[in-house]
Subunit: 145 residues, 4 copies
């Protein structure tokens, strides 16, 4: 899938002169939302079905600093999907193809009452999409970072 593109905003920098690290966590969400939209299941559709998908864990490594007004390309892939748990992988590069960030996020699925649900049961169509994307990512092999 095509990479999501984010331009670093002035308000995202800090007094070190570089992008504040917390913003990369927000860009992970921006890219994830875009990824779902391109996959045909925008997040608002999931919400409309009464399902929310909170972040349960994050791990990441800041490989190189960025700053205003850099453009960042963000590539998202499904690293694991097991019905109740979704794991995504993020690779951020600058326009010279230098890796600036690598990250992972983990998500669960909750119904309106806040109870954990298996997506395979609660929303089989989207579960199928994640399964296909996980296979595709596995077939593509480890990304060059």
């Amino acid at each position: 899938m095509e990479a999501y593109r984010h331009r670093v905003q002035y308000y995202e920098t800090d007094r070190m002169g570089i992008t504040h690290h917390s913003n990369y966590i927000r860009w992970m969400e921006e890219a994830r939302v875009d990824f779902l939209r391109r996959a045909g299941w925008p997040y608002e559709r999931l919400e409309a079905e009464g399902i929310i998908s909170p972040v349960t864990a994050i791990s990441c490594r800041f490989k190189a600093s960025t700053s205003f007004p850099d453009e960042i390309l963000i590539d998202v892939s499904v690293s694991e999907f097991k019905g109740a748990i979704l794991k995504l992988e993020y690779l951020m590069t600058d326009l010279c193809d230098k890796t600036v960030f690598e990250g992972h996020s983990e998500h669960c699925f909750l119904d309106k009452d806040g109870k954990l649900v298996r997506l395979t049961k609660a929303c089989p169509e989207l579960a199928g999409i994640f399964e296909a994307l996980a296979k595709e990512a596995a077939a593509a092999g480890p990304r060059d970072a």
Copy 2:
């Protein structure tokens, strides 16, 4: 009422080396929430009554820059209350009593269906508090800024 105190965080600075101006708008909210709590009507109580109070307008002047790790004192007062509209005034000073920011916010009140309500009708007790605070602020006269 005692001033609210906010310490400028590193993540609130930008690459000019100073606090990014958008954060003062957030501190206005922090101070407003604290102001309501001290007045005996925390915002979450208003929410529990089924009323929300969105910001409808803001005006402000940035008088002097601040940065990490400055401590800022924020004084809030009711400049006008007319049943359906609340206007608040904010004065931010540093620890040397230098004015760094002056601002105003305007708020309305909405019920669960998003309809405008008069607070004097929907929540007379809080309306009474605002009326008393407006009188108190008027009696104190213009603040020294």
Copy 3:
């Protein structure tokens, strides 16, 4: 000039279910940066010339709420330019052309030592651009909001 386009991010919403008002102040900056870039003088070029341009005042009115994943069009124009002071005007509309936000920002210009400078002297080329844009906006007349 073409309007700047911002998609409301999930992290920009609050528990009222709508965009938190402080984010509009950040979008003003996003649109302003884009405006300067299109005008041929990206902000980073101004910084490279040793000039910074802090926000000195803001006033705005929130006309209608927005939320994730709305797309917002932001139109920027120069409402006044007097050598040492720049005033910009912002009109934000949704994709149905409904006005959601109107705002103004005021800016000064500082050199490396933090001293106020007249842009007409410190950077005549950009001053000329602002003068032309101010004339253009005046000729276009008040915007339909």
Copy 4:
């Protein structure tokens, strides 16, 4: 050392009704800054010595949701210090002592030219403090989470 206390702000919530996960990363920084201050070496002193300490990696787990206006206690400890690399551990609990977040951050040290430095050489006094805090944390054993 005494836990750092953060009250969840309204602007830190999202339309799920809970604290947006990116804010915990910012609270890690708030608590870290407070930790350094209490240890006798405020971060601004490190900056004044010409050393900055960027975040190089983060990993965390969101254990329970929080929202406005919860108060969160944040406990910071040094999990590893090796001269050039500092690793910190964070435990966030609510006022009922329920763990809401566990995280780790990794930091390096850079001089004015952006070159990696060993803190043991560049700032032996602070290095000594980190060594003592690392020993203290090791002696205290794993924290109850």
